[in-house]
């Protein structure tokens, strides 16, 4: 799709809504999704005259933890600044953000295609949101302001332009999401607006030193939209340049309905935000002890954990990747192994069955399957029933029939009842035995040990 003679250069700006109980600078609840407009507000997040912000310590800690996980350097002192601009969703006329002393700088995140350098991760407050009555902003008769989101804690993570394709952009965003969920910084649900990814995209002739004119892409509400939006935008820029047109520096939106990007706002004239230190908030002093404590609270991160699962449990790279996709899944898997299950079948169970049963119960099930006490189908039923598997197996009399004389009687009956299948097998249709095994299992009320049944069938059919 993109001619080999072009190279895309992409840097990512990611806004992350931090998962805290209260907002960034006031005690309003953050649980506003689905609530009526302007119901989660107070004088502070409404920007009433006279109010003052008080920084949410948990939010600061979540940024610091993310920064540590992103290998950033963290200064001894950080501060908030005011970013001044007028917009109806910004009740104070300025956003409290961070300018020249962010909470962190200069980190990196390793993703599949390589290392993406992190420029900075800083903390700010979210704006409110506008609801336009009508289909389009310019045709709207009224615009209504909802300030439930105003003052939500927001982390901005800026990357260096180390990304070169839609696939890499998506991988980076997914890896970042995984990391954010691991450190407990955010739920990072794109559809809920908790993770807002804004790629800055430009293209240049391969081998050129100079960067092309970039556009910033917004309204990407899913990883799929991110992938398609970036792909579209790269193609649009290449086609324009090949036709001899110029790229305009601007913000472009992604239209999900039309599957294309469209011009939102020209950035030709850079706005002067008149940043200056926020006088209402004292600087944040980050002492080494605090940082040590936060470092101690960090969980094992996805990449090292994946490697460890391969090393310690002999899992395949693919299984380890799936198990570590979410911290809770990996925790669960390791709990099952710790409760006495073998790693490989435990991995299969966790990946394929998404079990919700207690880890020790799953471990018991896996042990019973390995020991031949029950078969896999039964194990699934037992798991669905919930509770102590050994007790359920006992109560339901589910224990698998492995006893050769007991099973032999069933095998003989099945052979007698299915002369057609027996004839097929003897005529050389090897797969007919599978049907017979199934019949044995059925006849045993699903309790037959399939392996023993197959052996007994084979013995009788091939005397």
């Amino acid at each position: 799709m993109i001619a080999d003679s072009w190279e895309a250069v992409i840097g990512m700006e990611v806004h992350v809504q931090l998962s805290t109980a209260s907002k960034m600078f006031c005690s309003c609840s953050t649980d506003y999704l689905g609530a009526p407009p302007n119901s989660h507000v107070c004088p502070v997040c409404l920007g009433m005259p006279g109010v003052l912000p008080v920084a949410n310590r948990t939010a600061v800690e979540k940024v610091l933890k993310t920064a540590l996980a992103l290998n950033c350097s963290i200064p001894d002192k950080s501060k908030f600044d005011r970013k001044n601009y007028f917009y109806p969703d910004l009740p104070k006329g300025y956003q409290i953000s961070q300018y020249d002393l962010p909470l962190s700088r200069n980190g990196w995140l390793d993703v599949e295609h390589g290392r993406v350098r992190i420029t900075r991760a800083h903390l700010e407050e979210d704006t409110g949101s506008l609801k336009h009555a009508g289909d389009a902003l310019h045709a709207a008769q009224e615009s209504l302001v909802d300030l439930n989101r105003s003052g939500m804690p927001l982390m901005e993570i800026v990357s260096e332009p180390d990304i070169h394709s839609a696939e890499e952009a998506r991988d980076y965003a997914m890896a970042l999401r995984q990391l954010l969920r691991y450190v407990g910084a955010s739920e990072a649900d794109m559809e809920k607006g908790q993770l807002r990814v804004e790629p800055n995209i430009s293209v240049r002739r391969r081998g050129d030193e100079k960067l092309g004119v970039k556009t910033e892409l917004k309204n990407l509400n899913s990883f799929r939209a991110l992938y398609r939006g970036v792909e579209y935008e790269i193609r649009r820029q290449v086609e324009a340049l090949e036709k001899g047109n110029e790229i305009v520096q601007e913000t472009r939106g992604w239209s999900e309905a039309e599957q294309r990007t469209f011009s939102q706002r020209s950035k030709e004239y850079a706005q002067d935000y008149r940043y200056f230190p926020e006088p209402d908030l004292p600087p944040i002093v980050i002492d080494p002890g605090w940082l040590d404590r936060l470092r101690g609270e960090l969980p094992e991160l996805p990449a090292p954990r994946r490697q460890r699962l391969v090393r310690e449990h002999g899992l395949s790279e693919q299984d380890a990747r799936e198990l570590t996709a979410e911290r809770t899944t990996a925790d669960y898997f390791e709990a099952v192994v710790a409760a006495g299950a073998e790693a490989k079948p435990a991995a299969n169970w966790v990946i394929q069955e998404s079990p919700r049963t207690a880890p020790e119960h799953l471990a018991a099930l896996i042990r019973m399957v390995s020991a031949g006490t029950i078969n896999r189908d039964q194990a699934r039923d037992v798991m669905a029933a919930g509770g102590d598997p050994e007790q359920i197996v006992r109560e339901r009399g589910l224990a698998q029939i492995s006893d050769e004389s007991e099973l032999g009687a069933i095998v003989d009956r099945v052979l007698a009842d299915n002369p057609r299948a027996v004839a097929d097998y003897r005529a050389g249709k090897q797969q007919a035995i599978q049907a017979l095994v199934g019949k044995v299992i059925g006849a045993s009320d699903r309790r037959a040990n399939a392996q023993v049944a197959r052996r007994l069938l084979e013995e009788r059919l091939n005397p």
């Binding site: 409404l46 009433m48 005259p49 006279g50 003052l52 009740p91 006329g93």
Partner: protein, 471 residues
């Protein structure tokens, strides 16, 4: 009231009668709240009747500068842009005084958004000095100063960003205190310049000022810049100045434009303190001249941002004829803000602009550090610094309205205390040409107790106390 000779309600009614009699000429109040005041006074009556008053401020009528939010009471910062705005909450200082039983009589006039030194920049009307009705009361807290001076309030609250409590206190012949930055919570104070603003009291005696400070001061979890320093305004109040070193700075005693009458009264006051046992020390404040320039960069810069929220969308005035969003902003702000406020917004916006930030705002912050260092060094040699509060006595209405720079010079002796975050008090030290002269006492950070003690010692030694201006 403790002796049951009068009751809070009787006191309030006398106060309301005095306001009725005098405020037609003085214009100290923007609006009165007699209904809620009567309810508060009635509650205080009950407490005294039970013999369980809340403390020394219980049932005392108090006026509030129109920049402090009082729950449900129209609060406008002296500006048309906030006309009709009723805050949904009490400022912390108000809440603490309310809890101590103070009775809020009304909101007092001030320069719009506390920007001015004469109360002539009010978006409503000018206030007149009770000592000479053709004179200004000073500003920006001129309404509060005039109310206390005219006996229309026992106590009043003001705010001081560059001298806006101390200068009107001096011009109206009352006591006014600006606490250490961070001493009194700014929560609920409609901000002018956040790094300089402080709330403080106007009273007719130093002891009353100390009582109000004791109630208002202290850490507030709603103000991240408020300090957890211990609060003790009272225990050393009567300790006198024996053994204290009182600093006099040439940069202040020889400041340009200092009227001879003012200088004479202040010199006499310094001698009185010496006579009372203080040791006089000469100190230097070499960056005084630069302080004024720095102040008029920092304060407007912060104001330009603080006043951005008045956009005609959420509260207060809004131009109903505006057709677009930008027009709403422009028309509302052009009509709602007065000329001085617009001037400072423009100054501050310019000072923060990209390309000018380093030359103005950053440079001003460096000067501010130097001014603070001047004071820190001076306070190695003395316990308090004494000077005139204002270079002049109250000037005539209109005398400086055409010349903003002349008006800005009114604050030359007070704004250093704001730049350095120091506590300061102004108290009457006599008259010049029939008009009050104020004595300023500055102390190191968190040493309000020292400023109050020196001021109280002067009161005792001189016998000069604030009195109600004759009608």
């Amino acid at each position: 009231m403790r002796r049951r000779e009068t009751t809070p309600s009787e006191l309030l009614e006398r106060q309301l009668a005095d306001i009725e009699a005098r405020d037609g000429e003085v214009h100290a109040y923007l609006r009165l709240t007699p209904k809620s005041a009567r309810a508060q006074a009635a509650a205080a009556d009950q407490r005294y009747a039970r013999g369980e008053p809340l403390g020394p401020l219980d049932g005392i009528p108090m006026a509030v500068k129109d920049v402090l939010c009082v729950d449900g009471v129209e609060t406008t910062a002296g500006s048309q842009i906030l006309a009709g705005y009723h805050p949904p909450y009490d400022a912390t200082a108000i809440a603490r005084l309310r809890a101590a039983g103070a009775v809020f009589v009304g909101m007092t006039n001030c320069d719009e958004f506390a920007m001015g030194s004469s109360t002539e920049n009010s978006g409503y009307f000018p206030t007149h000095n009770p000592w000479g009705l053709d004179r200004v009361p000073g500003g920006s807290s001129g309404g509060s100063a005039a109310a206390v001076a005219a006996g229309m309030a026992v106590l009043a609250l003001g705010t001081d960003t560059g001298g806006s409590i101390r200068q009107p206190a001096a011009l109206c012949g009352v006591v006014g205190m600006k606490p250490t930055y961070g001493r009194v919570s700014r929560y609920g104070l409609i901000a002018f310049a956040s790094s300089l603003d402080q709330i403080g009291p106007f009273t007719r005696s130093v002891t009353d000022a100390a009582q109000v400070m004791q109630v208002m001061a202290g850490r507030d979890p709603r103000d991240a810049t408020s300090a957890a320093e211990p609060v003790d305004m009272l225990s050393e109040l009567e300790a006198g100045v024996e053994g204290l070193r009182i600093g006099v700075a040439r940069e202040y005693s020889e400041v340009e434009g200092l009227e001879p009458g003012v200088r004479a009264r202040v010199d006499e006051a310094v001698l009185k303190l010496e006579g009372a046992g203080a040791e006089l020390v000469e100190v230097a404040l070499p960056h005084t001249d630069y302080g004024l320039a720095a102040y008029y960069i920092v304060a407007p810069a912060e104001a330009s941002s603080n006043l951005a929220r008045f956009d005609g969308i959420k509260y207060g005035a809004s131009d109903p004829n505006a057709q677009t969003l930008v027009e709403t902003y422009l028309r509302t702000r052009r009509q709602g803000f007065g000329p001085e406020v617009r001037r400072r917004i423009m100054l501050g916006t310019y000072a923060l602009s990209s390309g000018y930030y380093d030359a103005y705002y950053l440079k001003a912050q460096k000067v501010r550090t130097l001014v603070a260092r001047d004071f820190a060094e001076a306070f190695r040699d003395c316990d308090a610094i004494v000077s005139a509060t204002s270079p002049t006595v109250a000037f005539e209405l209109g005398a400086k309205t055409g010349d903003p720079l002349a008006m800005y010079l009114c604050d030359v002796l007070t704004l250093g205390g704001n730049l350095a975050g120091l506590p300061g008090i102004s108290l009457p030290c006599g008259e010049a040409g029939g008009l009050p002269v104020g004595l300023q006492v500055l102390a190191p950070q968190w040493r309000e107790d020292v400023a109050l003690r020196v001021a109280r010692a002067y009161e005792m030694a001189s016998g000069v106390t604030a009195r109600v201006a004759p009608a």
